[in-house]
Symmetry: C2
């Protein structure tokens, strides 16, 4: 029962999900794969994203994880059902948890969604929200500049803040009471997005909500980790490990002392 | 696939869960049983609560529900595992969802819980919280006066406000950032509890959180209701149907127009 939760992403964005898993489920072991050599997935064709996701899932399967988490909205939008049909263990995406949190939160019935071009074009949030609650109004905006800001480590700069503010302008005039950060990279930009949207709009982090849904699913399957040993996490990336490790350490700082971490660059891609 | 979600409670408290199910899952059909003749469950022995819960589950099983929701913290604390072992469908309690929401929310690591004497004595929230996150500090307080205020329909009176304020005093001096309303009756008293605790403490409604967890579990089982017909809800109580209907109508007002409702008094108890 010490099997890991395997988390995959197009790059470093999924680390926001990892951070929340480490925070909300401190007894769980995490194995992470960031496809930093091929990031971003947002502008890629669905066929390519499905292929890449399959490759990473095949790689992660060697560790016999108890769950696969597709911590990338673009990959969740196009590859979730495909991966579900290929493995026996639960596969959790990042779209449904954010949608459910928005449904719980909204009182006005108008929900905002920001994401990559791929996610917005797929209308995956709209489908997920309306499948459960058909009366909702959904306002979406693609923010293609946000992921490169995060992947290049510039997410705290003044340039980042200004880019975020200008990008969000078109969505500000709608009567939203919540905005789904429909890309796992976006929590890196939370401060700037909060400033851009103003105090009346609650930001919903798909990372926080996905970690909570992981908790619920493991609980209902009787698979939550027990407190009998310290988990050892493993991190893999397909690109430059120096930049990856630097961003991961800065982002996961608080949780890096508690548990030993193994860093590896695999050869699959 | 038009099977209902069956919700049971010791009285009217579980209507707070029903309200959230109707709000967050407007396509789902609900069958409710309130054991108003034998309320409250809080001061009863665990054996008695298990027996009563089994009787109600046996009654509800005739409707072939797709899920049983034990919308009563006292019954969840003592009867959840027993009921799980007796039925094939998922059984959802109200304790784990509130615990998970508190874990997601807390940054200070100190979580408050208020509930009936039965729930607090069972330490069920403490176990649920520490099973997932052993480092948390938990502060609990039994509020035995709250349920009678709600069941007698007095939840908006000045007397109710004053009772709530005085009862909460012992828990106010702890550095809580969230307080779990560990009894499904308590959302009726949300205004008074919020006033009593001050603006820095976020109230976590086990009703809201349970509805969201119901959504997650049905989704992962492929059992969410489709938008192809208007659900007809059914409400049963074991005691005086006049008072029950009055409280239910006042509480669920907004959702009573949309769907036809059947009111019945069964003969099981």
């Amino acid at each position: 029962m010490h099997n890991a939760i395997a988390v995959l992403d197009s790059g470093v964005g999924g680390l926001t999900v990892v951070k929340e898993v480490l925070r909300q489920l401190p007894q769980e072991k995490v194995i992470y794969f960031g496809d930093t050599a091929r990031t971003p997935y947002g502008p890629r064709s669905p066929e390519e994203v499905v292929l890449f996701t399959r490759q990473i899932v095949d790689y992660l399967t060697q560790f016999e994880p108890k769950m696969i988490v597709i911590a990338c909205n673009t990959a969740t939008a196009v590859a979730l059902e495909d991966i579900r049909s290929r493995v026996e263990i639960p596969v959790v995406g990042v779209i449904a948890p954010g949608a459910r949190a928005a449904i719980k939160h909204t009182r006005r019935g108008t929900v905002g969604v920001i994401g990559t071009e791929g996610t917005v074009k797929s209308r995956a949030y709209e489908y997920a929200l309306k499948e459960i609650s058909p009366q909702l109004e959904i306002v979406s905006l693609a923010c293609p500049t946000f992921v490169p800001l995060v992947e290049s480590g510039q997410f705290l700069s003044d340039h980042a803040k200004e880019t975020v503010r200008i990008t969000l302008e078109p969505i500000r005039r709608f009567p939203l009471d919540c905005l789904i950060l429909g890309c796992t990279h976006y929590p890196f930009l939370t401060g700037a997005i909060r400033e851009g949207m103003g105090p009346d709009v609650t930001l919903i982090s798909s990372a926080e909500e996905t970690a909570r849904e992981i908790s619920a699913i493991l609980y209902h399957r009787g698979q939550l980790a027990k407190a009998d040993r310290t988990p050892v996490h493993q991190f893999f990336c397909s690109g430059d490990p120096v930049m990856f490790k630097q961003i991961a350490c800065a982002w996961l700082e608080k949780y890096m002392d508690a548990s030993p971490v193994v860093w590896q660059v695999p050869t699959i891609v």
